[in-house]
Symmetry: C2
Subunit: 344 residues, 2 copies
């Protein structure tokens, strides 16, 4: 806090009015005549007065701030969400409190407590686990407005998110329909219990024919490009025979692409690649990478709508509402040719 800033009291002292008159004048009350208001406004200007929002928050019992917890700021789609959230909230007069959980439950819980202590009016959360949500459910039970950005229709918590199961199904179906029979899945989330994408991948296999092979489902260390590279390396070394790779995000896909380029494998002729999130780096990669789109604008807008709605409500929160946005598959060069078999 800056060392000494003007308060209402200072304006009052300088103009001779009472603190309350100054407060009313600055807030444009009709009870204050224009002449008085002008004098006060001028003095406020001269003293560089800015209302102390800390004091305002205390008396108004709202901070006009919303907490946003993200698993990882290194994922471009999450930062895009962060950017969109900040912009939209700022338009509506709210500030954004950010925190990253680094995909650990302990940190996530700590950040929630921090936001609660700071009396954020509500929270938007990408929980690191889509299953362990008790701490968030407890929050909601105490009438704290929370909206998750990944969805579980049965969690009893409001959520707005992309339908990842449907997205994975679409991507896998696209590959299967293009003749691929053995499709690898590089999915960092599954190992943490977030199995939506894996489920979509498996269901596509079940419904469309090819049997899935658990050995083709690998867990990269994290969601980075490097991890995509090494996961692909791992798959290749094990000589399992596959003609396509689906990854749980575009960074991993770009890592797979780099592996292929480096080892002389043609994309999509030898290996087809499909990612998730549709980040710009995938679109403009040397070989543009197919991707399941993440509709940042839409998810953000609806999530903010909802959390502000919950904030505005008095008393008990209404029943939780889960909105899943159907994602679109963007087919690009990395997967747009029919696969005709090993020598096709």
């Amino acid at each position: 806090m800056a060392k000494s800033v003007a308060r209402l009291k200072d304006i009052a002292a300088q103009t001779g009015f009472s603190v309350n008159t100054v407060s009313l004048a600055l807030r444009g009350s009709s009870r204050i005549p224009d002449e008085t208001r002008l004098l006060i406004l001028q003095m406020a200007e001269r003293l560089n007065y800015l209302p102390n929002q800390v004091a305002q928050s205390l008396v108004r019992r709202e901070t006009r701030s919303v907490g946003l917890i993200i698993t990882d700021l290194k994922n471009p789609v999450l930062t895009a969400v962060a950017q969109a959230v900040e912009l939209e909230l700022s338009k509506r007069g709210y500030s954004t409190l950010f925190a990253t959980s680094n995909n650990t439950l302990a940190l996530e819980e700590r950040m929630i407590e921090t936001f609660r202590a700071r009396r954020a009016d509500g929270m938007l959360i990408f929980p690191c686990s889509h299953r362990q949500l008790d701490h968030i459910r407890a929050l909601r039970k105490r009438n704290y407005p929370v909206v998750l950005l990944v969805g579980d229709p049965d969690a009893g918590i409001d959520a707005v998110c992309m339908d990842e199961r449907a997205g994975a199904y679409k991507a896998t179906a696209h590959l299967i329909n293009n003749g691929h029979k053995r499709i690898a899945l590089i999915d960092g989330a599954a190992a943490r219990g977030n199995t939506e994408k894996q489920e979509g991948y498996l269901r596509a296999h079940q419904q469309l024919g090819p049997t899935s092979d658990p050995r083709l489902m690998v867990d990269p260390r994290d969601g980075s490009v490097a991890s995509g590279y090494w996961a692909t390396d791992d798959l290749m070394r094990r000589n399992l025979g596959f003609s396509a790779v689906l990854t749980s995000n575009d960074s991993l896909a770009l890592g797979a692409l780099r592996y292929c380029v480096k080892h002389g494998l043609r994309v999509p002729e030898d290996v087809a690649i499909v990612g998730f999130d549709n980040i710009e780096f995938a679109e403009y990669a040397a070989t543009p990478v197919s991707s399941v789109n993440y509709d940042v604008e839409r998810v953000t807008r609806m999530a903010i709508e909802r959390v502000l709605e919950l904030i505005g409500l008095a008393g008990e929160l209404p029943e939780a509402q889960v909105i899943q946005v159907e994602p679109e598959l963007l087919v690009r060069e990395s997967s747009n040719r029919r696969y005709e078999g090993a020598n096709g």
Copy 2:
């Protein structure tokens, strides 16, 4: 703010002690005997009490929060900084207030006012213009702790940053030393008055021989991959003859790379590419892209050190101190071959 949360008063009412006793007990004062403290702690636990930081901030006259203004959350290096800042501040018990200025001065000024109203203890700012800093200078004059993340030694404002001039010099010198005589510069910042990189580029030409050609210096619409692609397209169409491209960030470089791949130009044989920031997508691109490293950890750590130091100081702020970190050039495949002329 959640609808009804426990206050000291509630614990006091439930235990029969006074508010002050409860406050002292929870803060571990030695004036409260263990027996009493235990009773109070148990009740606090039962009521799910969390101190109201808004009230604490008001009375302590510090919020333990720092504002961070970033030009654009879509730039991976800026989000890396954001992540590092949040992590480091959180370790030290501070919260981070984020805002993006979207590279407009008006928004930057608005966000500063927002942070000031929220009584952030200090601010870290990537100003959108490195020259128009009057509003920030005014802030500093009123003893508000501010640290910029781009540096102008003469601005009279504390700063910690990479030495972009030196970085551009190194990158350009590297290309010149590899035989390149006509080097294009795609720099989005120069048009906004942030000419450090351009200056380094020009100085390298002056000192090492080749004359620079203003027609080779282009301004992309923004810092995106797409803009890098189209800026390269623009350069190529004008048939100016060049064998290397230096871009002001890696996204632009990746756009240039994509252009080359798409149009059958070999990198680095036909066109060498060097970017800025060393983001992972450049390192793992189909052709790994050379880049001037941005030492996120170091810049972040020093900037936070400094702003916390300024916050800790009572009274007048000391003289501004500008720290410029010398960047390292990471040479990768996109520029690591000698250029021997048009048919080399």
